[in-house]
């Protein structure tokens, strides 16, 4: 029964990824990336990871798409003041020869597929990942957390709490860095704007 859901989702995932690779309009590519994130969130839900699915849908499909659209609106191909923007302003140029990258990707993919022959099969309860570390922490987590039923939350916020603290530090650092990168230098703002038109500001 579940296969009837899983197989179309996987086919759509693959089709979306190929579409993103082929399409030249960047707006459309960003939209397809959002669709890709939603599809992977659906698959994660089927794979028993609802927390990751929620986060992927909110962060991957939501925030990433918004950030990309904001960036696109700031980076048209023509300069901003030279008339109305058209969809051509958000198209990348056709790439030259896709043969060499295709070859590299195929070889890498074959090597990875060869590597999967040693992997434990999908859903195998005796796979090393299920046995080590001792999974008894799952039953212990509820009394440890005073009755919290969600084991993922228990591990994320308590057992691996320092990891989550580090994660917030990463977010903070990234936020500061974005602010510093995007901040305009007030003293040479006019000159940099005039120079960026001709692009000889190196």
């Amino acid at each position: 029964m579940m296969d009837f859901i899983v197989i179309p989702i996987l086919a759509l995932l693959a089709a979306t990824a190929v579409t993103v690779a082929r399409i030249r309009n960047l707006w459309a590519a960003v939209m397809f990336t959002g669709i890709y994130s939603f599809l992977s969130a659906s698959w994660m839900l089927i794979l028993d990871a609802p927390d990751v699915a929620f986060t992927e849908a909110a962060v991957g499909a939501g925030i990433t798409t918004i950030l990309m659209l904001a960036t696109l609106s700031l980076t048209p191909r023509r300069q901003r003041k030279s008339g109305r923007l058209s969809s051509e302003d958000f198209e990348e140029r056709p790439s030259k020869s896709p043969l060499l990258p295709l070859l590299i990707v195929t070889i890498t993919g074959c090597a990875l597929v060869y590597g999967t022959f040693d992997m434990p099969h999908f859903g195998d309860p005796n796979a090393p990942i299920q046995v080590y570390p001792n999974p008894s922490f799952v039953e212990k987590s509820q009394p440890d957390m005073h009755g919290l039923p969600n084991v993922v939350t228990a591990v994320l916020a308590s057992y691996r709490g320092y990891d989550t603290l580090g994660e917030t530090a990463v977010i903070f650092t990234a936020g500061i860095a974005v602010l510093l990168i995007l901040r305009k230098n007030t003293d040479d703002q006019s000159s940099s704007e005039s120079q960026s038109v001709t692009g000889e500001n190196a």
Binding site: V20, L47, T75, T108, T116, G123, P125, V151, G175, A202
Partner: protein, 155 residues
């Protein structure tokens, strides 16, 4: 046949991963490259989540305990857990699914936790990369990689 079914998910994930990799190395538009990185990243999430799935398992959210907090959860034991105490039995392959219908089988929560962290760190790096693209566009007037390199060479 079981080989194909057991490894099918990994191959799909590898295909997605390689599509992202192709976008990163073949396309010269900087925003497209970041999109490719995002696709690669999401496929890595999928790889981890796939590994954490246990057959006939359910999401790792425990049933309400009947015996109170101190008593612990008797019904909510991960399938691996009941055998985790006797690793020898598991190693010899004595695990038999559905022996005890009362016991719940949970999928592994650890990949979920790791990927939650990875998603959030991923959005941080994406935001930083996009900010750099905006800055590059301000300086060079283009976001095509080869044009930028050309300008650098000519300057």
């Amino acid at each position: 046949m079981t080989e194909i079914l057991g490894l099918y998910n990994y191959w799909i994930v590898i295909f997605l991963m390689m599509t992202g990799f192709y976008i990163v190395i073949a396309r010269e538009n900087l925003i497209k490259t970041i999109i490719g990185l995002n696709i690669f990243q999401t496929s890595v999430f999928l790889l981890y989540i796939t590994m954490g799935k246990v057959t006939h398992g359910t999401a790792p959210i425990l049933k309400a305990s009947h015996g109170g907090e101190s008593h612990g959860v008797e019904h909510g034991v991960e399938h691996g857990a009941e055998h985790g105490h006797e690793l020898h039995a598991a190693a010899e392959g004595h695990v038999d699914l559905g022996v005890d219908a009362v016991k719940e089988v949970y999928s592994n929560p650890i990949p979920s936790v790791l990927m939650l962290t990875a998603i959030v760190v991923g959005i941080a790096t994406t935001a930083l990369a996009l900010a750099l693209v905006v800055r590059i566009r301000e300086e060079y007037g283009t976001i095509e990689e080869d044009e930028i390199l050309e300008m650098d060479r000519n300057s």
